[in-house]
Symmetry: C2
Subunit: 323 residues, 2 copies
């Protein structure tokens, strides 16, 4: 199983998948388009969100970062006149400092991530989409903004015109991602409920990824990050509108056309099921909001069963759809 994953929503489903699937059968591929260098530190927000979520260290109330976080560093940084638009918690800093010196010492992002996951007791493989730098840039009415400047500093307020992934052309899938793409026994590809433009597209922009995912012959199912025209968190719906689509599950399905043949949608969007079918996308309607660990595991299990059904012989589908 391969899961493509970005920020907070994606990490929640990844948590469920890690509970539902044996470690050797799951590779969680994480977006690194959000990565950036800040104050000389290498920050990988999506990787950290997945690491914190899977190790139970994430802050559920704030919705990002680590639980039990403190802010002494930021307060002292402000006092020194340092750049304070990006919040770095004291505990979170340990991750960035460790990563930064190890990268500088020649370790790859894959190696650093694997060691950290191991240390935090995570058995499932969490792998960056690529070890080469890919940097998401949002073209806005105010000019190009690097991802974190757009997302954090400008609070995703500027109107987006286009999104590009600098460095993607030269990037290659990370070794563990490439190995997963080479397996013959991949049961399913799950696109987590992450921002399609900002979290999943960077992964798909790595040359060869799209074709190799299709060539697996496994069902590809996405879980919609959009519920009733809105994203639970983040600018997915706003971006959708700005980039010319009506925010909703149909736009999600269209976005993943040629990749996902199944889409898990929320009960709130059950009315779009027929339209999805008409597009050739099989819908699965369920509750997609994940409050508890049980929600995460249940949604993961349902998604996996849905994917298994999709890959069942067409005969079974015909039986349901017959006269």
């Amino acid at each position: 199983m391969i899961a493509l994953c970005g920020g907070v929503g994606g990490a929640k489903l990844a948590f469920g998948l890690a509970r539902a699937v044996a470690p050797q059968d799951l590779t969680i591929v994480v977006n690194t388009g959000d990565d950036f260098e800040h104050l000389g530190l290498s920050v990988s927000p999506d990787i950290d969100t997945v690491l914190y979520t899977l190790s139970g260290l994430s802050d559920r109330e704030r919705g990002w970062g680590r639980t039990g976080e403190t802010w002494g560093f930021m307060s002292a940084l402000r006092q020194l006149g340092g750049e304070d638009w990006f919040n770095l918690g004291d505990r979170d800093l340990a991750m960035h400092v460790e990563r930064s010196w190890r990268l500088r010492a020649g370790e790859s992002l894959s190696q650093v991530t694997a060691r950290t996951a191991r240390t935090l007791g995570i058995g499932t493989a969490i792998v960056p989409m690529s070890d080469a730098p890919v940097r998401t840039v949002v073209e806005t009415a105010q000019g190009p903004l690097s991802f974190q400047r757009y997302f954090v500093e400008a609070r995703a307020e500027p109107r987006a015109r286009a999104i590009r992934f600098e460095g993607a052309e030269a990037a290659r899938p990370s070794p563990a991602f490439a190995a997963a793409l080479d397996r013959r026994d991949v049961a399913a590809v799950v696109v987590c409920p992450s921002n399609p433009y900002l979290s999943v597209d960077p992964i798909l922009a790595v040359p060869g990824v799209r074709d190799r995912l299709a060539a697996l012959g496994a069902p590809v199912v996405a879980v919609s990050p959009i519920i009733a025209g809105q994203a639970l968190k983040g600018p997915a719906a706003k971006l959708m509108a700005e980039l010319g689509a009506e925010p909703g599950v149909l736009a999600v399905a269209r976005h993943y056309r040629g990749l996902a043949t199944g889409l898990v949608i929320d009960q709130a969007d059950a009315g779009d099921a027929a339209a999805l079918r008409a597009m050739g996308v099989t819908p699965h309607v369920t509750g997609t909001i994940m409050h508890s660990d049980e929600d995460r595991t249940r949604l993961a299990q349902e998604t996996l069963r849905f994917a298994a059904d999709l890959s069942a012989p067409p005969r079974a589908v015909a039986a349901h759809g017959g006269p």
Copy 2:
């Protein structure tokens, strides 16, 4: 006025000097032999001690680091299996992170230090002895140890055989130190009560410094870091014994022979005054323990008056010593 200064004791007198002398007339030259690279960060412990002390940010109870410090970073670092033998407080980290990226961006240690001092509201010039890396190495029975490995990790326990300053031969005084050494109006040179071997010797090891200090023609007075055979803090007395001297103010005077002609000693060592005079070193006996800001200022003022007396025409001295 030029003050040579190292760790906590030195910083206390530097605080007093900064109160007693107009900013334009005082250059506080700080040891950088303790500097090191840790977890990819550039740490300058003595510079930070002086910055924290002069800005009122130092922790007086713990005796090092910043007041109001928290330790979330260290706790998370331990959880990640990172190197935890050197304590980095959350607030203190802001200093190291800011310094590290600025140095990497091409600023000099002098520039970074000057900016930080300004930001913290310090008017007096705090300057590194050199912008080139000089690294103190302690030769011990267990082999050579870099300064922090010796001082912090090994708690200064290994027996020292010799001390050397790697990089010193190639170092030059920092621009502001060099400018101070070029002034014709230096009223005095004060060697603060810092460890002679570990804090002051590295400064004197920068080529030309010793000769240029002597060439100023100003009185050079030291304040003894040893009181009744003991250092208030740190391994100065232990090192003295290991390097073959009997710990005491006479050994301090001998150590600074050819440099300091006056030595401020504590009342506890008044009995050594005659022996000091016999060595050609003028003693000044007073209370040298600095508990309060007032102690610091009083000792600084006394030291400055003592230096002024030393440089007074010999006639005055003869009047006192006459029959």
